[in-house]
C-alpha cells in the first residue's frame, strides 16, 4: 500500500502521466470518430475532454495538477497557428481572388457574433463578469483569453466557453451547410473558422483542404477584428 502511494506521488508530480493520458485519450477519441465515419456529433475534442475529465474525477485530481502535465500540448497551439501560413501560401492565388467576399463576410460575421452574444446574454440576465468572458468566444483560445483578461473577464472561463463554441460550431457546420445546399468550400470553410476558430478549422480540414485553408484565414482575421471590436461592442451594448 505504501509502495502504491509513493508510486502515485511520483506519477502525480511528473508531466509524464497527464501527457500520456491526454494523448491516449485523443488517440482513442480519434478512433471512435473514425469509426462513425467522422460524424459531426462524434467530435474528437468533445470525446477526449469527456474521457480525460472522467479520469480526473475518478482519481480526484485537481485541474491545475493535470494542466501541469498537459501544458506541453497546450503550448503547441501557438506553433500550430504559425504554420497556418503553409496552406495559406500554397493557395494564395485562390485566396487573393476571394479577398472581397472574405473581408465582407469577416466584418458581417464578427459584428453579428458580438451583437448576438452580448445582446442575448443581457436579455437572459447573465452576470456582467460572465458576459465579458463570453464576448470573445468565437476567437481562438489564446487570443480570446487575452481579450477577456484585458476587459476584466475571467480568462479560464473564456477558454472553456471558446472550446464549447468550437465544438458546437464543428458539430453544426456540416449539417447546416448541407441543408442550405452551399457547395462553395471556400464559403463553408470561412464560416467554420470565423464562428468556431481552430476546432472549426480542424473540422474543415477533415472535409476539404480548400475549406481548411479558408477556415484558417478566417480564424486569424477574426482574432484580429474581434480584439478591436469586443471592447467597443461591450461598451455600446452595456
Amino acid at each position: 500500500m505504501a509502495g502504491d502511494f509513493s508510486l502515485w506521488v511520483y506519477l502525480a508530480k511528473t508531466p509524464l502521466l497527464w501527457l500520456t493520458v491526454t494523448l491516449t485519450a485523443y488517440v482513442l477519441a480519434d478512433r471512435i470518430a473514425a469509426a462513425t465515419g467522422r460524424h459531426p456529433i462524434a467530435n474528437p475534442v468533445l470525446i477526449t475532454v469527456v474521457l480525460v475529465g472522467s479520469v480526473l474525477a475518478v482519481s480526484g485530481t485537481p485541474y491545475p495538477a493535470y494542466f501541469e502535465g498537459a501544458q506541453f500540448v497546450h503550448f503547441l497551439l501557438g506553433p500550430a497557428t504559425v504554420v497556418l501560413a503553409m496552406p495559406l501560401y500554397e493557395r494564395r492565388a485562390t485566396v487573393m481572388r476571394a479577398l472581397v467576399p472574405m473581408l465582407t463576410a469577416l466584418a458581417a460575421g464578427a459584428a453579428t457574433t458580438l451583437a448576438v452574444v452580448i445582446g442575448l446574454a443581457r436579455l437572459l440576465d447573465i452576470p456582467h463578469a460572465v458576459v465579458v468572458s463570453l464576448a470573445p468566444k468565437s476567437v481562438t483560445s489564446g487570443v480570446a483569453m487575452g481579450i477577456a483578461e484585458a476587459l476584466g473577464g475571467d480568462p479560464t472561463l473564456t477558454a472553456i466557453l471558446v472550446i464549447l463554441t468550437g465544438i458546437i460550431g464543428a458539430i453544426l457546420v456540416t449539417p447546416m451547410m448541407n441543408a442550405l445546399r452551399i457547395s462553395d468550400m471556400r464559403a463553408r470553410g470561412f464560416a467554420a473558422g470565423l464562428a468556431a476558430h481552430g476546432i472549426g478549422t480542424a473540422r474543415a480540414f477533415q472535409v476539404s483542404e480548400v475549406a481548411g485553408t479558408f477556415a484558417g484565414i478566417a480564424m486569424g482575421l477574426n482574432a484580429f477584428l474581434t480584439a478591436i471590436l469586443a471592447p467597443l461592442a461591450l461598451h455600446l451594448l452595456s
Binding site: 501557438g78 497557428t81 467576399p101 472574405m102 452574444v117 440576465d125 472550446i163 462553395d184
Partner: protein, 134 residues
Amino acid sequence: MIASLALILLAQLLGEILARGAGVPIPGPVLGMGLMFVFLLLRDNTRIGLPRYLPRPLTDGTLESTARGLLMNLSLMFVPAGVGVVGRLDLLRAQGIKLALVLVVSTALSLLVTVLVFRAVAARVERGRPDREP
C-alpha cells in the same frame, strides 16, 4: 525536423516580441503566421536565391510536412484548456442552460451570416469570371 521546429518557434517568438514590444493589438502567433508567410515568399523568390544559405530541411519539403503534422492534430491542442470545464461545473450548473442557449444561437447565426454574405458577395464579384474555383 528540428530546423523546421526552430523556424516555426522563431516566427512565433518574433511575433510575440512585435505584439508585446510594439503594443500591436494582434496576437503574437497570428503575427508569426504573417512572418512565416513572408519567409515562404522570400524563400521561393528565385531572384534572391535564399535556399543556398538555408538548412536543407527548410527547402526540401520537411518544413511543409512538419506543418501538416501539426495542422492534422489541431483538435488535440484544445484538449488541455477544454478539460478546464471540470473545474467550472458549479458555474455551468447555475448558468448552464442560459450559456448553452447563448452559445448555440450565436454560433449558428455566426455561421449562417458569414456563409451567406460570403456567397452573395462572391457571386456578385465573380459573375462572368470563368476561373471560379470548384
